[in-house]
């Protein structure tokens, strides 16, 4: 009987302590998470017609020391060198959804031209996440995809 009373009282205690999850874990802002300087750490590549053969081509970019600055204050991005990853040198960016982004949209400015690159995010990017990962599909002139890169950046 004592045992039962103890279990019942403990259940009450724990129930009273229960807090809604949202009060414990505040949704981590992805805008805050992406706002940083990033260093290119890994590049994978595959042909969209043969998705099973994904190869690591990091070595090709290894000596380039490519850095990407993402600002969530004015929503600009800039690389530390001229067009290192096929998506221009600088411009503006946005998420498709600030709360739960699945895609990064880059608008690279080149003189009077603006070129748009829609890059799916490969994982979420909260402040606690060490990497920024997105993919870029390269297309030929008629819009057919020719090759896909997965870029992984680490916080500088």
């Amino acid at each position: 009987m004592k045992k039962l009373l103890f279990i019942a009282s403990m259940a009450l205690v724990f129930n009273a302590c229960e807090k809604p999850l949202e009060e414990i874990y505040e949704a981590s802002s992805k805008l805050e998470g992406i706002n940083d300087e990033w260093v290119l750490a890994k590049v994978d590549q595959y042909d969209p017609n043969n998705k099973e053969l994904v190869i690591d081509v990091t070595r090709v970019f290894a000596n380039d020391n490519i850095e990407l600055n993402m600002s969530s204050e004015d929503f600009t991005f800039s690389y530390n060198q001229d067009n290192p990853l096929y998506m221009g040198t600088s411009g503006t960016w946005s998420f498709d959804d600030d709360e739960a982004p699945s895609q990064l949209n880059f608008a690279a400015v080149n003189g009077s031209d603006t070129v748009y690159y829609n890059c799916p995010l490969l994982r979420t990017v909260r402040s606690i996440d060490p990497t920024l990962e997105f993919s870029l599909t390269r297309e030929c002139d008629n819009g057919n995809p020719t090759t896909v890169y997965h870029f992984t950046f680490q916080r500088k």
């Binding site: 590549q45 043969n50 053969l53 070595r59 096929y86 390269r138």
Partner: protein, 294 residues
């Protein structure tokens, strides 16, 4: 001879239908089978053993599928084989088969959705089932059912490729690279399928590259296949599973005068300090770049 030929054709005419129609259970279009696409299982009851009187039962009753592989749903699942405590006596209406013709019944589903398994599981387990009426007997009554039936399904055989490029080449010879020469281009060599004895279990390999521009001018990094080891940038990376890879951005890797375009790459895979033809992978692998115009 003519007589022999006609006899052979007559024999074929007799034998082929036996192979085509001799199976009690089969897929409607086996050559098109994909686990994540709809398929149709067909059972010809007249070609089963009829040991438990299924052919006669089909004259008066609906037929139901009773399936346990690639997966069997638990009691209560919408696609569980039977309903209630005596499931064998109460087949699930959701598994009622369609009567195609006298004695021939079918059931259509998308395997990965129906069984709630991955495609690999479908290929591994195949389809194992039987056909029965709503009440399969049992509990003191004689069983009414077919014997256990199965349909084997296998993944399409993927060709074993010794040397391939990424992006992969297009055209009959797989030698046209649709991407730009500013993109990363890789040659991947699978040493595990090498038939040339002297190249098997290679430890260190290089590429010997000859490039050509659109005017036909020739460019080399190593002057000959014997000199590749002098150029570390030509060394292929090896992964533990025997795959060698060489990657570069052609525009950066091969210095071509302004105004000219890289048109063609010829690649040979060689051992360092090559001496004889036994020190290279047979074949020169040629790739044509169309500069992203596709």
């Amino acid at each position: 001879m003519k007589h022999l030929k006609s006899n052979f054709i007559a024999l074929l005419a007799f034998v082929l239908p036996v192979f085509a129609w001799g199976q009690a259970a089969f897929l409607e279009k086996p050559e098109e089978f994909k686990p994540d696409k709809p398929c149709k299982i067909i059972v010809n009851l007249k070609l089963t053993s009829n040991e438990w009187g299924i052919v006669e039962a089909a004259n008066n009753e609906d037929m139901f599928l009773w399936v346990w592989k690639p997966a069997e749903h638990p009691a209560g699942h919408p696609f569980a084989n039977g309903i209630g405590g005596a499931a064998w006596k109460n087949s699930n209406d959701a598994l009622k088969m369609t009567k195609e013709s006298d004695g021939v019944y079918s059931y259509s589903f998308t395997p990965t959705e129906f069984f709630e398994v991955e495609a690999a599981t479908v290929f591994k387990e195949d389809f194992h089932f039987l056909v029965k009426p709503k009440d399969g007997g049992g509990y003191g009554d004689p069983d009414i059912k077919t014997e256990d039936l199965s349909i084997s399904v296998d993944p399409p055989a993927s060709p074993i490729v010794k040397v391939q490029s990424v992006p992969q080449g297009k055209g009959k010879k797989l030698d046209t690279i649709a991407s730009s020469t500013a993109d990363v281009f890789s040659v991947v060599y699978n040493n595990n399928v090498e038939e040339k004895a002297s190249m098997q279990e290679a430890e260190e390999l290089y590429v010997y590259i000859v490039a050509y521009d659109d005017l036909g001018n020739e460019y080399k990094i190593a002057s000959s296949p014997k000199r590749v080891a002098d150029f570390p940038e030509l060394k292929m990376t090896k992964s533990n599973d025997g795959i060698f890879q060489f990657s570069c951005i052609p525009d950066r890797f091969i210095s071509i005068p302004d105004g000219q375009m890289l048109y063609r790459l010829e690649v040979q895979i060689v051992k360092p300090n090559l001496r004889t033809t036994s020190d290279w992978v047979d074949g020169v692998f040629t790739y044509y770049f169309n500069q992203g115009g596709c």
